[in-house]
């Protein structure tokens, strides 16, 4: 039996060599770039001989944020197949390279760095706005375009020239739901708001909701309750809410917590209207509130019921594989890939991208993205303004209608 001394030293040596091994293999590993490209200091774009354009996807594939990341991966995969089947970028297929950001800022930074050094043309991601604030500056410094598929906090496109997003900011989406609620019940006077205090997105969204409630509609904001995304019991907050007898309750949170709050509100006897924020804009809430999800109003940047060819394509492909309708995260990821592919096609038509230096290609792509060209995506017709902010004219409000079995439901578009 080896002495513990030897084993100990061995352990240490193994750890160190693994790190070195990773370092060396990291320099030569670039699954889709040609070997010559990786070794040089000035990376080349897909050189003559390489047959794919690699696009990085940095979303949360592990940790509890993976609930959203999983949906984004699906959207990206469907887009990859769809566009490659149509010939990719004027004949050259695209290849999506995935790096898991996990749920925190450091993981996002690491994922971005790995992708940048894998010579991707652009990056789709990260999942959370918080991660974006940390990781996007690295892409900006490296001159790599970033398309954010799900960052909706204020200030994201302003991080840098190369940072854009296809996810409409909270300030645009949220107010529509209140308007819809008023249409259903014109007698709304008292409103209660609840939000997840430990989630940056929810905090940002509730700011918008509260402002709209007090300034635009002049309702009486009777109480603001907070909870944590990790909470499971909301009876205290629910009772506080019911005590002020509101006609409308507005909730900003994520799927599990938001849906549990709603279920407990209904269990304890609340019968008024409920508006859910963007975090509840997912079929993931159905298992939680089940039959009591019925009637929730949600403002969306995406509706599966939008009747355009490309949206039907997305919805049908997704439904064939997953047996349900795609949600906002999936559609926005799809749109992100689409935007990159179509911009690349436009760049290629002006100057052939084969043989372009990678840095030049990335810059040309970014310019094309921000040129105001219109993309016909499942989100509707969108374009990017010079700052990288999305111009989206169509927003939707849906009301949830649960099926009789209480397990499945639809987000029914309200006209």
């Amino acid at each position: 039996m080896l002495s513990s001394r030897v084993t100990q030293t061995a352990f240490v040596l193994i750890t160190v060599s693994a790190l070195l091994l990773a370092a060396c293999s990291g320099a030569t590993t670039a699954p889709s770039a040609s070997p010559a490209a990786a070794a040089t200091a000035a990376p080349q774009a897909p050189a003559a001989g390489s047959s794919e354009i690699s696009i990085g996807v940095a979303v949360a594939q592990s940790s509890n944020v993976s609930l959203f990341g999983q949906e984004q991966v699906l959207g990206a995969q469907i887009a990859e197949k769809y566009f490659n089947d149509k010939g990719g970028v004027n004949g050259t297929p695209i290849k999506l390279v995935y790096q898991d950001t996990a749920g925190d800022e450091a993981g996002a930074i690491n994922a971005f760095q790995t992708l940048i050094n894998d010579n991707v043309v652009a990056i789709l991601g990260p999942t959370l706005s918080q991660q974006a604030f940390a990781a996007d500056p690295f892409a900006e410094k490296a001159g790599v375009p970033v398309i954010a598929p799900s960052n909706t906090a204020k200030g994201i496109p302003q991080i840098g020239q190369y940072i854009s997003r296809v996810s409409a900011p909270v300030a645009k989406v949220a107010p529509n739901a209140i308007a819809a609620a008023l249409k259903i019940n014109p007698d709304i006077k008292t409103v209660a708001v609840a939000f997840a205090q430990n989630d940056a997105f929810s905090k940002s969204e509730t700011g918008t909701f509260q402002q709209v409630i007090t300034d635009t509609y002049k309702f009486d904001l009777a109480t603001v309750q907070t909870f944590q995304t990790t909470d499971t019991d909301f009876t205290t907050q629910a009772s506080n809410i019911m005590n002020v007898q509101p006609e409308l309750v507005v909730i900003s949170g994520l799927a599990a917590d938001g849906a549990n709050l709603i279920k407990q509100l209904r269990d304890l006897g609340y019968t008024g209207l409920i508006v859910g924020g963007n975090g509840l804009n997912t079929a993931n809430i159905f298992p939680v509130c089940q039959a009591q999800c019925d009637g929730i109003l949600v403002a969306q940047a995406y509706s599966p019921q939008l009747d355009t060819a490309i949206n039907k394509q997305l919805v049908d492909t997704y439904a064939a594989e997953q047996k349900k309708t795609p949600g906002q995260f999936t559609a926005q990821a799809f749109a992100g890939v689409q935007v990159l592919v179509e911009a690349l096609q436009a760049v290629d038509q002006k100057t052939p991208i084969k043989g372009m230096a990678l840095a030049d290609l990335r810059t040309a792509l970014n310019e094309q993205l921000l040129s105001g060209m219109i993309f016909d995506t499942p989100l509707g017709e969108i374009s990017l303004d010079p700052e990288g902010e999305i111009n989206q004219s169509q927003f939707y409000v849906a009301q949830i209608k649960m099926d009789s079995d209480g397990k499945t439901g639809q987000f029914v578009l309200l006209k």
């Binding site: 309750q225 506080n240 599990a256 006897g269």
Partner: protein
């Protein structure tokens, strides 16, 4: 707060308190015998819920290695829950063998068991995620069919309500406490457990098979944790593999407040914290989280043995 509100919040507090208590029971059992905190409790809690979900014949989602897997049969819920708890208990024994026993045999610092049990928790939670993905699952609605969503008390125009499933949880945790206390205080087995808790070496010298008893303790704590996971999963659905981890932290506060190692203490501590949290004035609900930890901090300074624990003596 008027009288109805007060009564409602007290009811809410007792309800959430019994959830904390149920979780803490498994924790306190291991602590009382081994003087170590088993950080895998949160992961085993989740496991119990997932196992039971599997046994009810429900299907897993499309992510993970076991995409769309489902058992070809479905057991009635109480049986599935029991089986889920038993399996969770067996996993707990596995955890003990891997992460606790080797350290105990070496006489290592209890801090190391803290870290190794945490490592096991990371492994278990990530294995669950790898196998079945991170989606939210819930038990079939048929489990609660026929029962009203909430029980109502008081006048019709100003009722107070409590969710039915929380009444069940309260009942079950009381049942467990009584059963555990009886077992520890009135049975031969319980006597042996107390002997091991007092001094493991002497107990083994007296012919008690400490190793087996420790395994039994872990099994029980895993069973309790697993069933707690099932019940809470029933109440709020299984929100991903991490849904037990957040209880771990609050559970510590419950343990200290009630008295580390005291079984009735786990319930008293849980209810106390639950009540304190729900009675926070509505405008300060944001600081509800601080309550548990403020209690923890203050009690540690003032009365570390908690409400029902034995006063700590310093061995020279």
């Amino acid at each position: 707060m008027n009288a109805t509100m007060l009564a409602q919040q007290i009811l809410n507090g007792l309800a959430v308190g019994s959830v904390y208590a149920l979780f803490a029971l498994g924790y306190t059992l291991v602590f009382s015998i081994l003087r170590v905190i088993n950080f895998t409790q949160g992961a085993i809690f989740a496991l119990g819920a997932y196992f039971t979900y599997l046994f009810t014949g429900s299907a897993f989602g499309f992510n993970g290695l076991l995409a769309n897997a489902a058992l070809p049969f479905g057991l009635p819920f109480p049986l599935a829950a029991l089986l889920g708890g038993v399996l969770a208990g067996l996993v707990a024994i596995g955890v003990e063998r891997i992460a606790f026993k080797p350290l105990r045999d070496k006489g290592a610092d209890p801090l190391l068991t803290l870290v190794s049990s945490l490592g096991m928790a990371v492994v278990i939670v990530n294995v669950i995620q790898y196998l079945v993905g991170a989606e939210i699952y819930s038990f079939p609605a048929s489990v609660m069919a026929g029962l009203p969503a909430a029980l109502t008390f008081g006048p019709a125009n100003n009722p107070i309500r409590i969710r039915t499933v929380q009444v069940i949880i309260f009942g079950v945790s009381m049942l467990f406490v009584v059963a555990l206390t009886l077992m520890v205080n009135r049975t031969q087995l319980g006597k042996a457990l107390r002997a091991v808790a007092e001094d493991a070496t002497t107990a083994s010298l007296l012919g008690i098979n400490t190793d087996q008893l420790i395994q039994f303790t872990f099994f029980m704590s895993g069973l309790l944790g697993g069933i707690a996971g099932v019940l809470i999963g029933l109440s709020v659905s299984i929100a991903g593999p991490y849904f037990g981890i957040s209880f771990g932290l609050k559970g510590l506060a419950v343990l200290v407040l009630g008295g580390l190692g005291s079984i009735p203490g786990a319930v008293v501590g849980g209810l106390a914290i639950g009540l304190a949290e729900s009675l926070v004035p509505p405008d300060f609900v944001a600081y509800k989280e601080v309550i548990a930890f403020l209690f923890l901090f203050v009690f540690l300074l003032v009365r570390p043995q908690g409400l029902l624990g034995r006063p700590l003596t310093q061995k020279v």
